[in-house]
């Protein structure tokens, strides 16, 4: 029996394990010191502790991961997303050690990970935003004279918004250029940056591609414009912005770019879309967080196909097998303040996901789980399928309303407000959506909130037995504790 090491944690680890079992492959796992109680540990057939708390000490530590693979005798490794997923060095180390890396070759990763080279390849097939790699400040000034403000500085080896600067004036340029280089150097070990014209408030649309040695196919697009801090919160497919003609053009371009890079495995070609025009942005060479919406409308298990590609069986589907139907939406539920999006560490008291046909929950959470502070704030992905967009939105609203997570703040209130927003309902939104969102509340809910806030705090979140104020046979109404309670305002 083949064994696959999942070099990741959280929901994606449990999701990969599911596809492994489907294929008769034994899923194996690793866990950090902070993750010993995490669900992915229980999901795997065999696990190895790799110690450490921070990503650098654990899931990002290549040596520890390779050791775990050898110790468990795994012949395959799936990196998930984040951590080592797009590391050409990790892919190469696996190749050298005779371990099958479920993902693109190290050569492809080297190319897609260099944003300047990827841009060059893509520019043969798609418009790219005007700009280039800049090493000296003087060059930045002369480029700016040519392309004008606003502009954006990005790290060549970057990702996740680090090293990113938006510049509007010459005064800002010098500092932004220096600090971007500095941040890029610290975060990615390379201070290479490039500068391009900044497209304000575009839509963010990406095409899912998957390829093997002989072919590259696409699985349609995903609309990912609902973002905060350049990170996605809601994704849907198909995009309400695309006409069949533009969709056809965009997907063909994505496939052409991937073929040019000799791309194998699953990847995403990201585009900016504004006023009917689109520009290539980058190629993400990993399974994406939002892949389930594509799976919902195509019925294709992308992780399963990734494994087929890596085990030389190759893709078991052709382009003509890809016949998307219906509409799917994903809401990323994060342990974050729903208005400020500040991440929150804490213990989940209740975790009760909705159950309905066409609702998929990808999560590694459970009641009583303490969210560690070392990793990301994603706690659950809620994915809803409908025969059409309206049905999918309605199902999502129902599911969000009945998804009970208590003890920590989550982004559920944000999602409920977003799905009620006219711009979202009309499908007419771009990356400025979140900034302009008006939060929804209900009158009855406001009354409940008012009552909760005037009732003494000690009633909230107490274990049931402690709450039983009637326990003693003689309850003393003038208990001093109550009088000292600042919320006991009606009694002063």
């Amino acid at each position: 029996m083949s064994k696959l090491l999942i070099a990741n944690r959280g929901e994606i680890a449990t999701r990969i394990a599911r596809s492994c079992r489907k294929l008769g492959i034994s899923p194996c796992g690793i866990y950090s010191e902070a993750d010993k109680n995490s669900l992915h540990v229980k999901y795997c057939d065999e696990v190895v502790s790799i110690g450490g708390l921070t990503p650098v000490e654990s899931y990002l530590c290549m040596g520890k991961v390779i050791d775990a693979i050898k110790k468990l005798g795994c012949d395959l490794v799936h990196p998930g997303y984040g951590f080592l997923a797009e590391s050409a060095e990790f892919s190469e180390t696996c190749e050298k050690n005779g371990i099958t890396f479920v993902g693109p070759s190290s050569k492809t990763l080297g190319l897609s990970g260099d944003k300047v080279r990827a841009r060059e390849v893509a520019s043969k097939f798609a418009p790219v935003v005007e700009g280039k790699e800049i090493s000296m400040y003087d060059e930045a000034v002369s480029l700016t004279e040519k392309i004008g403000f606003p502009l954006i500085i990005k790290a060549v080896k970057g990702g996740g918004g680090r090293g990113l600067r938006i510049v509007n004036t010459y005064q800002e340029l010098k500092n932004a250029f220096a600090s971007s280089k500095n941040e890029a150097s610290i975060s990615f070990g390379s201070d290479r940056v490039y500068i391009e014209k900044y497209i304000q408030n575009p839509r963010h649309i990406e095409v899912q591609i998957i390829g093997d040695k002989s072919d590259v196919i696409h699985l349609g697009e995903r609309e990912c414009s609902v973002q905060r801090r350049h990170q996605k919160l809601i994704e849907e497919t198909p995009s309400p912005a695309l006409t069949p003609e533009i969709r056809d053009k965009l997907t063909k371009i994505a496939v052409a770019i991937a073929k040019e890079m000799a791309y194998t495995s699953a990847g995403t070609v990201e585009f900016l879309y504004k006023d009917g025009g689109f520009y290539f942005m980058e190629l993400n060479s990993r399974i994406q967080v939002e892949h389930p919406i594509t799976e919902m409308v195509t019925g294709i298990d992308i992780v399963e196909q990734q494994i087929h590609v890596s085990t030389s069986k190759g893709l078991t589907i052709k382009q003509t097998d890809v016949m998307p139907k219906g509409h799917a939406i994903e809401c990323r539920i994060n342990a974050e303040h729903p208005v400020t999006f500040v991440p929150h560490v804490g213990t989940i008291k209740e975790f009760d996901p909705p159950k309905e046909d066409g609702v998929r929950i990808d999560t590694a959470m459970f009641s009583g789980y303490s969210i560690p502070s070392f990793y990301d704030s994603l706690i659950s992905k809620l994915i809803c399928f409908g025969n059409n967009r309206r049905e999918a939105i309605e199902k999502m609203m129902r599911s969000l309303s009945s998804f009970r997570i208590s003890g920590i703040p989550t982004t559920i209130p944000f999602h409920l407000s977003a799905l009620r927003d006219k711009r979202f309902l009309d499908g007419n939104y771009d990356t400025s959506f979140v900034d302009q969102l008006k939060y929804f509340s209900s009158k009855e809910g406001e009354i409940a909130a008012a009552l909760f806030s005037v009732i003494p705090k000690k009633f909230h979140f107490l274990p049931k037995n402690k709450l039983d104020l009637w326990n003693s046979s003689r309850f003393d109404w003038s208990n001093e504790d109550q009088h000292n309670d600042p919320y006991f305002g009606w009694n002063k």
């Binding site: 406001e446 806030s453 009732i455 309850f475």
Partner: protein, 158 residues
């Protein structure tokens, strides 16, 4: 186990003014009843949910401060409590329905804080109703053995 909001009726009754998501609410709570902007409604609190006229609201998260932040049924609310809560009445009401076991005071009597005023039997338990502040009893509206409902006026202070 339903927990009554029973500690709300000692001494005078305060009217609390809170602002929720920009809208003002004035609230008076008496036993199982709340009066919100003049409208009476039945309430019951059970650990982390509240039932308002039969409709349940789950408190998923609360962060208390000068401005509190709450998540209820997946929707977020920001609440600020006005410092101008006003005493509306000097009535002492029954925090729960039951039977008056003993009246421990009489009209015209001067009382100190914590003086025992009435013993009320409810749910097979004796509940001691004490004064939350000093004052004088103007009127006693119940007598020994009488049944009272939640929110009934027991005593009126001067």
């Amino acid at each position: 186990m339903k927990t009554n909001i029973m500690i709300l009726t000692l001494g005078g009754i305060n009217k609390m003014i809170v602002e929720v998501n920009g809208n003002n609410y004035d609230i008076v709570i008496v036993g199982r009843k709340a009066r919100v902007n003049g409208r009476e409604m039945e309430i019951s609190l059970d650990e982390d949910h509240i039932t308002l006229e039969g409709k349940t609201f789950h408190l998923d998260y609360i962060e208390e401060g000068t401005i509190s932040f709450l998540i209820i049924n997946g929707i977020s609310y920001t609440v600020s409590r006005s410092l101008t809560d006003v005493i509306e009445s000097k009535e002492i009401r029954a925090p729960i329905g039951g039977r008056v076991v003993e009246v421990m005071t009489e009209e015209g009597q001067e009382i100190k804080k914590s003086d025992l005023l009435i013993i009320l039997e409810a749910m097979k338990m004796e509940n001691l109703i004490r004064a939350s502040s000093a004052g004088r009893i103007r009127q006693i509206l119940v007598q020994k053995g009488q049944s009272v409902k939640t929110g009934d006026v027991l005593l009126v202070l001067e």
